[in-house]
C-alpha cells in the first residue's frame, strides 16, 4: 500500500503537469503521458490487488480531468496493468532497456484501447489517421521519460523505506 500511495502522489503531480504546464510547450498536442508510466511501474513492482486498484484509480483520476466520459482511461489503465503484469511474470524486466520498451508498448496499447472504446462506444467517426500519426511519437516520448520517472520513484521508495 506504501508504493500505491507514492504512485498516487506522483500521479497528482503528473496530471497537474499535464493539465497546466505541458499545454504551453510547442508540441502541446503531443504530451508525455506520465500516468501510463506510473501504471507500468505499478505493474512491475506491485503484484497484488492494491496494484490493480492503483491502476484503476490512475485511470479514473485521468478520466476526472479529461472529457466527459468516465471509464475510458480507467479501463485502458487496468488493461495495461494486467498485460504488463503478465509480461513481467514471463520476462526479466529489471533493466532500463526493458523498462523503456515496456513503457513504449504500454503507451501504444493504452492509446489503442482508448481509441477503440471511443470508436465503439461513443463515436463512429474516430480520426484514426490522426491517431496513427501521433501515437508513435507519444509512445516514444513516454518511453524517453520513463527512466527519469522510474528513478524518481525508486528514490522515493528508498526514502520512504518501502524497499
Amino acid at each position: 500500500m506504501g508504493l500505491l500511495s507514492l504512485v498516487m502522489i506522483t500521479a497528482v503531480l503528473g496530471v497537474l503537469l499535464q493539465t497546466t504546464v505541458l499545454h504551453l510547450l510547442p508540441l502541446a498536442s503531443i504530451m508525455p503521458d506520465f500516468v501510463v508510466i506510473l501504471c507500468v511501474y505499478l505493474a512491475l513492482h506491485e503484484h497484488s490487488v492494491a496494484g490493480t486498484l492503483g491502476a484503476f484509480l490512475l485511470g479514473y483520476f485521468t478520466d476526472s480531468f479529461s472529457g466527459n466520459v468516465l471509464g475510458l482511461h480507467a479501463f485502458a489503465m487496468s488493461l495495461v496493468f494486467l498485460l504488463v503484469y503478465l509480461l513481467a511474470r514471463q520476462l526479466w524486466m529489471d533493466n532500463v532497456v526493458a523498462n523503456v520498451a515496456v513503457v513504449f508498448v504500454a503507451s501504444l496499447l493504452k492509446a489503442l484501447a482508448v481509441a477503440f472504446l471511443v470508436a465503439v462506444c461513443l463515436s463512429a467517426d474516430y480520426p484514426w489517421n490522426h491517431l496513427f500519426s501521433t501515437v508513435w511519437i507519444e509512445a516514444a516520448i513516454a518511453a524517453l521519460f520513463s527512466p527519469v520517472v522510474f528513478s524518481l520513484l525508486d528514490a522515493g521508495r528508498r526514502m520512504w523505506g518501502l524497499d
Partner: protein, 328 residues
C-alpha cells in the same frame, strides 16, 4: 479456496476493475451529465495546486516572452533598449486593459448573475476538450450552465465542486449547441468532433447556408441564451441523398488562448430579457455613451422575419456580438 484467490488476486482484481470500468463507461455514455462519485473530490483536491501552477506558469511565460523579445534588441544601444522595454510594458498593460475592459463591457450587457472565472487547467488528454475553472458551487457555478466570453460561446459546465468546475468546450465531441445561421435563420446543431473541429449538423437540405455565414445560438437548448456568437461557416457539404446538409464551423473563440471566462448563472430566458433591455436602452443613445458599434463587426443583413418555427419565440432576438448586443 483462499489459496486460489491469493494466487490469482491480480487476475481476479483486474477482472473486477475492468468490468467496473466498462460499467462506468456504459452508465455515462451518451449522457450530458455524468455519474462520477469521486470526480468532484479530485477536482477540489487539485484546484489549489492548479491555481498556483497556472499562476506561476503565466508569470514564467511572461518573463520568457519578454526575454525572447529583448534578445533581438541586444544589438541596439542602451537608450533604444530602455525605450523598447518601456513601450513593451506599456503595450502589455494596454493589451491587458483592452482585453479585460472588453470582457467587462460584454459582462455589463448581461444580467447580474454572471460569474467571472479564471482558467486554471486544461484537459489531461488530447482526445477531449475541457477546461478547469477556479470557481465552483460556492460561487454559484453548477453543471449545465453556459460559459461564454466576449468573443462568443465557449461551452457548458460539465462538473463542479465547491471551489472549481470543469467546462466541456464547444469543440468537444460530446458538445451540442442548438444554433441558427444569422443571415437565413436556418437551424441546426453545432457539434464538436474528436479532431477538435466543429460542424453544424441537421440543417434542412433546402435551407440556404454558405461559407462566411455567421452562426449564433438559437436559445432553444435551454442552456445558452439566444443570439450568442458561435462562429462562422467555413464550408458546406451536401450529400446526393439525405434530408440534411452539414456545415463546418470555425468557432469565434480561440480556446487555446482563453484566460478568463464568464459563467451565466441565470436562466437563458432571464439573460435574453436582460440583453433585449440593454438593446432597447442602446436604441436611444446618450451623447456620452461608448460607441459600441466602433468595436463591433457590422452584422450581416438579415432576411425579414419569417413565420416562427415550432417552439421558437416570435420575438426577434438581438444577436450578441463581441462587444455586446448588436443594434437592431
Amino acid at each position: 479456496m483462499l489459496e486460489f484467490l491469493r494466487r490469482n488476486q491480480v487476475l481476479l482484481g483486474s477482472g473486477v476493475f475492468l468490468s467496473l470500468s466498462l460499467a462506468l463507461l456504459v452508465v455515462n455514455r451518451g449522457g450530458t451529465r455524468r455519474f462520477d462519485p469521486l470526480g468532484a473530490v479530485f477536482l477540489e483536491l487539485l484546484r489549489p495546486l492548479q491555481s498556483v501552477t497556472a499562476q506561476a506558469t503565466r508569470e514564467v511565460s511572461s518573463v520568457w516572452t519578454r526575454y525572447v523579445g529583448l534578445l533581438n534588441a541586444e544589438a541596439e544601444n542602451r537608450r533604444l533598449r530602455d525605450r523598447l522595454r518601456a513601450l513593451e510594458a506599456e503595450h502589455h498593460r494596454d493589451a491587458e486593459n483592452r482585453r479585460l475592459s472588453h470582457l467587462l463591457d460584454f459582462k455589463s450587457h448581461l444580467p447580474s448573475q454572471v460569474v467571472t472565472a479564471r482558467v486554471i487547467g486544461r484537459d489531461a488528454s488530447e482526445i477531449f476538450q475541457t477546461l478547469i475553472l477556479d470557481r465552483g458551487e460556492r460561487d454559484g457555478v453548477k453543471p449545465a450552465m453556459a460559459v461564454v466570453c466576449a468573443e462568443g460561446v465557449i461551452g457548458r459546465i460539465a462538473q463542479s465542486s465547491p471551489h472549481a468546475s470543469r467546462v466541456l468546450l464547444l469543440s468537444d465531441h460530446n458538445s451540442g449547441v442548438d444554433a441558427l445561421v444569422q443571415r437565413t435563420r436556418a437551424r441546426g446543431i453545432v457539434e464538436g468532433a474528436l479532431s477538435g473541429s466543429c460542424s453544424m449538423k441537421y440543417i434542412k437540405r433546402g435551407d440556404e447556408v454558405q461559407a462566411g455565414d455567421v452562426v449564433v445560438t438559437s436559445g432553444l437548448d435551454g442552456i445558452f441564451p439566444k443570439g450568442i456568437l458561435i462562429g462562422r461557416v467555413s464550408s458546406v457539404s451536401r450529400k446526393d441523398v439525405g434530408l440534411y446538409q452539414v456545415a463546418d464551423v470555425v468557432p469565434a473563440v480561440d480556446f487555446a488562448k482563453l484566460e478568463e471566462v464568464l459563467v451565466l448563472a441565470s436562466a437563458p430566458e432571464q439573460v435574453n430579457e436582460a440583453i433585449e433591455a440593454a438593446a432597447r436602452a442602446k436604441a436611444t443613445p446618450e451623447p456620452t455613451a461608448t460607441p459600441v458599434a466602433a468595436l463591433t463587426p457590422t452584422p450581416l443583413p438579415r432576411k425579414p422575419a419569417a413565420t416562427p418555427r415550432r417552439g421558437e419565440s416570435r420575438r426577434e432576438a438581438v444577436p450578441v456580438t463581441p462587444s455586446g448586443p448588436a443594434r437592431p
